[in-house]
């Protein structure tokens, strides 16, 4: 009986605390985006959508966020892989996971100078992202290596005559990639929505998509607020599609 109650109670709490706020938020966003709740529109309209989607800002922001995220995940993956094969002490490297985005952004902002603050190539954003992501990936790679018994596989490859480099190219990397690619995609999605780092270190154009949505939402003029909701909905649909594709692919491969 108690087990039966818990099996209903916890999922119900989960839905109430995690799912309902997002669903209600999306409902409100849809109302604003289509003019039903907007102070500047009289009722249903597609004007806000056409206004936002025909401006280049949103597309540049989405592309900029995607590129920054890809670069951060790529560079951090390379560093984490290097840390794994050079056998850095993960217990110490893991301590860097205690540095949040706000502090990473502040450090780059203060010590980065003109090279890294509001630079046209987003180098400062990349450095700050790598500072927080690379330690996390190093720990993730170490855990994955232990879980799959990577050392035994590497030893077997070496016994068959493979050099260190060949072992890493044909054994270490493919094994880790196969196990962690879904995680890397999730991290890519998470970093595409990064806010505090591009807010402090990025230029005013193009803005990261989170910064663009925040700026449209928090402007004094209420006219731009529905535009923020359109940006939010476009972002969520794109990320949702990407996530659904990855989820489906992973499940198909497992089956």
């Amino acid at each position: 009986m108690r087990r039966g109650l818990a099996s209903v109670l916890f999922p119900a709490l989960f839905v109430m605390l995690v799912v309902v706020p997002i669903v209600v938020g999306v409902f409100v966003a849809v109302r604003y985006a289509f003019g039903w709740a907007s102070v500047t529109e009289d009722g249903f309209t597609l004007a806000i959508w056409t206004r936002v989607l025909l401006q280049p800002d949103i597309w540049w922001s989405l592309a900029w966020s995607a590129v920054m995220s890809l670069a951060a995940v790529g560079a951090s993956t390379a560093l984490a892989f290097a840390a794994l094969i050079t056998k850095l002490d993960t217990r110490w490297v893991a301590l860097l996971m205690a540095v949040p985005g706000t502090v990473a952004a502040f450090l780059v902002f203060h010590f980065g100078g003109a090279w890294l603050v509001k630079d046209p190539w987003g180098a400062g954003i990349l450095v700050a992202h790598v500072l927080i992501l690379a330690p996390f990936l190093t720990v993730l790679f170490t855990q994955a290596a232990q879980a799959v018994g990577l050392r035994a596989l590497q030893d077997a490859a070496r016994m068959c005559g493979a050099t260190g480099r060949t072992t890493h190219r044909l054994v270490t990397w493919p094994v880790l990639w196969h196990r962690l690619r879904f995680h890397l995609l999730l991290l890519g999605i998470a970093f595409a929505g990064s806010f505090e780092i591009p807010l402090l270190l990025g230029r005013s154009w193009p803005e990261a998509v989170s910064v663009l949505a925040y700026n449209r939402f928090s402007r004094f003029s209420l006219e731009t607020r529905p535009e923020a909701f359109v940006i939010v909905l476009v972002y969520m649909v794109l990320v949702g599609l990407l996530f659904a594709m990855a989820w489906r692919k992973t499940r198909t491969e497992r089956a």
């Binding site: 706020p21 409100v28 110490w92 893991a94 706000t102 502090v103 929505g193």
Partner: protein, 240 residues
């Protein structure tokens, strides 16, 4: 050599931040600047307690929610629906979620309160706890439990001698990770807290905006050191 390199890398941010907070008196470094934290009008101490309170409550609720929900999902026919929903917050960046929640909490009349910030953090921490605990329950725990039951163990006996020893480590890890998610949260706190809930990340950005480097560095250190200690104490759980 590799250990020295690892130690230097790990402590580098702390050393940089510490360097910003020391003042030099007769050629010697002092921590005299830290005395400003006790002065009225400097909200760093308040921010520390707010951050700690929010993160502890959120982590405790998330851990219980994660353990209970993930367990209930194992035998549930709703698993195929609920599990993808646990990944849903990944599709919503914190600031995007902050925009969505702010309007909802505004209508509910709880915007700008500690409660609204906790509820917003719970969306991310709670979902993550479910994902983490799902991995735990899917391993051999169900078989262990079944074996215990077959051998005649009662519910409380089963919990005390089979489930709790197996759960302790994953629960500790989930608690630590959800604590960190809440402790580091900036975007969603900024929006949902409406500037009235001043956690440490919000204060760090505020000080940077005011060009107050010393206070930004002090608040940053207070933000970094507790999780660093937590990670060090639980280092064997992360790395083995």
């Amino acid at each position: 050599m590799k250990r020295i390199l690892s130690v230097v890398m790990a402590l580098f941010p702390v050393v940089l931040l510490m360097g910003l907070t020391v003042s030099w008196v007769d050629g010697w470094p002092t921590l005299a600047r830290w005395s400003v934290l006790g002065q009225s009008g400097i909200p760093v101490q308040e921010g520390l307690w707010t951050s700690a309170g929010v993160a502890l409550v959120v982590a405790a609720i998330s851990t219980i929610l994660g353990a209970g929900t993930a367990r209930a999902m194992q035998a549930s026919r709703w698993r195929s629906v609920l599990m993808p929903l646990a990944w849903l917050p990944w599709a919503v960046s914190p600031v995007i979620a902050g925009i969505l929640f702010m309007v909802v909490y505004l209508r509910a009349g709880i915007d700008g309160t500690v409660l609204s910030v906790m509820l917003a953090h719970l969306v991310f921490s709670g979902a993550y706890a479910v994902v983490l605990m799902d991995g735990f329950w899917r391993r051999d725990v169900a078989r262990l439990e079944e074996t215990g039951r077959t051998l005649g163990a009662s519910g409380s006996h089963l919990f005390a001698h089979v489930l709790w020893p197996a759960m302790r480590r994953p629960l500790m890890l989930v608690f630590a990770q959800t604590f960190l998610i809440s402790w580091f949260q900036y975007g969603v706190t900024l929006l949902v807290g409406a500037g009235r809930v001043q956690t440490l990340p919000v204060l760090v950005f505020g000080f940077v905006g005011e060009a107050n480097v010393y206070l930004a560095a002090m608040a940053s250190l207070l933000l970094v050191i507790p999780p660093m200690l937590l990670l060090w104490v639980t280092r064997n759980e992360w790395t083995t």
